[in-house]
């Protein structure tokens, strides 16, 4: 057996045994590329996803809601970071990934190309968009690639408050004044179908699903997860006292699931191709923020370069098991 086949066999055995693949292991090039595409897209979604909610921080209707929303948008920046870090272990830099995003060559989740038009959208994003995201993400905690799985464990742990706060917003609105309830219903009407599209194209048309499942990057098909999401939301909508905008939604005794109406796939592909309501706006803002910060990043690099003698005070005296405090630990509570 030649060396390449030997490595391939070792890789296959690890996948088969459900053991994690780690950064410096040999891996098939296609596996690496699939992961880079998926993790980068995920990271981009987190940072573009800061915008539709960031929109409403300055208009949040109570100080409590404002604090929660700030913390949530901050989490998204953090999740972007965890995910970029995970992708970087595959040999692509964050710079490269951002460059690809800014050049329109990397995608992010299409859901963030929809506008946030009312405060209730903060509720719908939490309940539906984060709810759908969690459903996609929980299985990724067992993804075969170690750094991605570990990042997702962190993300899922932190995301658990996101969905709840969204639900709480909608519950408060739907049990508030008539104007508030109308605001909540109007918002759910707009977000329901796009959130179903978040699970991706139907299995029959999904080009990546089969290979990704064989590699244990993906654990469930798009349609399985979508069904699970619908089943969960129906009951939750009832408690909210809001209706889901689908006349075909009905319990199917035989299947043990809710049937739901036909998704407008043309719309999904239109938005993916860049013709959603906010595609240009989101990307332009991202690029502008990046460009606008260039002088800051350059200054910090220049400053560091000037001082790059022994850059760390501790570089000459590295941390050892006996020396637990390499820097200024009292700063880091």
């Amino acid at each position: 057996m030649d060396a390449e086949a030997d490595l391939q066999q070792h890789f296959d055995e690890l996948i088969e045994a459900d053991v994690r693949i780690e950064p410096r292991d040999w891996m098939p090039e296609a596996y690496r590329k699939t992961l880079i595409r998926q993790i980068a897209q995920h990271a981009h979604s987190e940072i573009i996803g800061m915008q539709p909610e960031g929109n409403w921080i300055t208009r949040a209707p109570s100080l409590r809601r404002k604090a929660i929303l700030m913390a949530k948008v901050q989490d998204e920046a953090g999740h972007g970071q965890y995910l970029y870090s995970a992708a970087e272990t595959l040999g692509i830099s964050r710079e490269q990934m951002l460059h690809l995003l800014h050049a329109g060559k990397h995608k992010y989740s299409s859901i963030f190309n929809y506008p946030t038009l009312s405060w209730a959208d903060m509720g719908s994003i939490g309940w539906l968009v984060d709810g759908a995201a969690i459903m996609n993400q929980v299985p990724l905690c067992r993804c075969s690639y170690g750094p991605y799985a570990r990042a997702m464990i962190r993300v899922c742990k932190e995301e658990s408050f996101h969905q709840r706060q969204g639900y709480e917003i909608l519950y408060t609105l739907s049990h508030g004044t008539p104007e508030q309830k109308a605001m909540a219903q109007e918002s759910v009407d707009r977000w329901w179908w796009p959130s179903l599209m978040m699970f991706g194209p139907p299995d029959s048309e999904s080009s990546h699903t089969e290979q990704s499942m064989a590699w244990k990057i993906k654990r469930h098909t798009n349609d399985e997860l979508r069904q699970k999401f619908v089943d969960m939301c129906v009951q939750q909508a009832e408690v909210l006292g809001l209706t889901l905008p689908d006349p075909d939604l009905a319990w199917n005794e035989e299947r043990g699931h809710y049937d739901f109406g036909e998704i407008d796939w043309d719309e999904l592909y239109r938005v993916i191709k860049g013709n959603g309501p906010c595609n240009k706006q989101r990307l332009d803002l991202r690029v502008a923020a990046h460009d606008n910060g260039r002088w800051v990043r350059e200054a910090a690099s220049a400053y560091a370069a000037k001082r790059d003698k022994p850059a760390t005070p501790d570089r000459d005296n590295p941390a050892t098991p006996g020396r637990d405090n390499p820097a200024t630990p009292e700063r880091v509570a």
């Binding site: 940072i47 300055t58 100080l63 508030g176 800051v296 200054a299």
Partner: protein
């Protein structure tokens, strides 16, 4: 205060109420400015840092506004949200420094933070020994936060000042632009004298030297020029603000005001 006559007691409560609003509004408005950075920061890492500082300040504001609502005898403002969302510009008591817009300029934002945190650190250090238990508790928690804000802002002003030619020029402009707003922080008035005399408020004049030392050290290390004193633009403590505050409040308050009495 059993020995205090009723009139004096009412005066004292009114004084503490007014003083608490000053402290609260500084934190509230600055946290709003920092929140405006969401998704706009120069680097992802900095998005997190700016939000952390903003959340610390918002936490201080909420505790202080809640206290102010308790002290106030005005039935119009019963809680933190009434005070934040229903007061007019003229009723806000924040200094002018914290209102100054970001102008999408990270350097300006860090200079503003340096100037403010270098004031808040010694202020809260003294206030944590205040005779007023609530103010003392808020300050004791806040001083740890403010020290970190000061360290972060100092680090950035030094890096920008001593970074590239462009960053040096830009951050010097920000220092010059914000310098006139510093004087207000250290102005005394009768209210502060009354509360200072009984150990409730920190006399601002006493903080000025500490501020000067800290800021001069940072600006010097940043190879920046310390500006000399100039004109005094206004008095936020008396409700005379800069134009920027009205726009900020219009955005912050509109939704809350659109639905009177609603819960969120």
């Amino acid at each position: 205060m059993t020995g205090t006559p009723p009139d004096a007691r009412a005066q004292r409560t009114a004084d503490v109420h007014e003083y608490t609003l000053r402290l609260a509004d500084d934190s509230l408005i600055l946290s709003h400015r920092l929140a405006e950075w969401a998704a706009h920061a120069p680097q992802l890492e900095e998005d997190l840092a700016l939000t952390n500082i903003g959340l610390d300040l918002l936490g201080q504001a909420r505790a202080l506004l809640t206290y102010a609502a308790e002290l106030g005898d005005d039935q119009k403002y019963r809680d933190e949200d009434d005070l934040a969302y229903l007061r007019s510009e003229q009723e806000f008591r924040c200094c002018l420094l914290v209102q100054q817009p970001n102008d999408d300029d990270f350097g300006l934002t860090m200079v503003r933070q340096l100037f403010f945190s270098a004031y808040q650190v010694p202020l809260f250090e003294r206030l944590s020994g205040s005779k007023d238990a609530t103010l003392a508790a808020v300050a004791a928690k806040g001083v740890k936060e403010a020290r970190y804000h000061l360290e972060h802002a100092s680090g950035w002003v030094i890096r920008l000042g001593d970074g590239t030619e462009e960053s040096h020029r830009r951050v010097q402009e920000s220092v010059d632009r914000l310098w006139p707003y510093v004087g207000e922080l250290f102005e005394s008035d009768e209210l502060l004298q009354r509360l200072g005399a009984v150990g409730i408020a920190a006399e601002p004049a006493a903080l000025h030297q500490v501020w000067d030392d800290a800021v001069t050290r940072v600006l010097t290390e940043a190879t920046l020029t310390v500006p000399t004193a100039v004109f005094k633009p206004g008095t936020g403590r008396a409700g005379r603000h800069s134009e920027a505050l009205g726009f900020l409040l219009a955005e912050m308050q509109y939704l809350h005001r659109l639905h009177p009495g609603a819960r969120w």
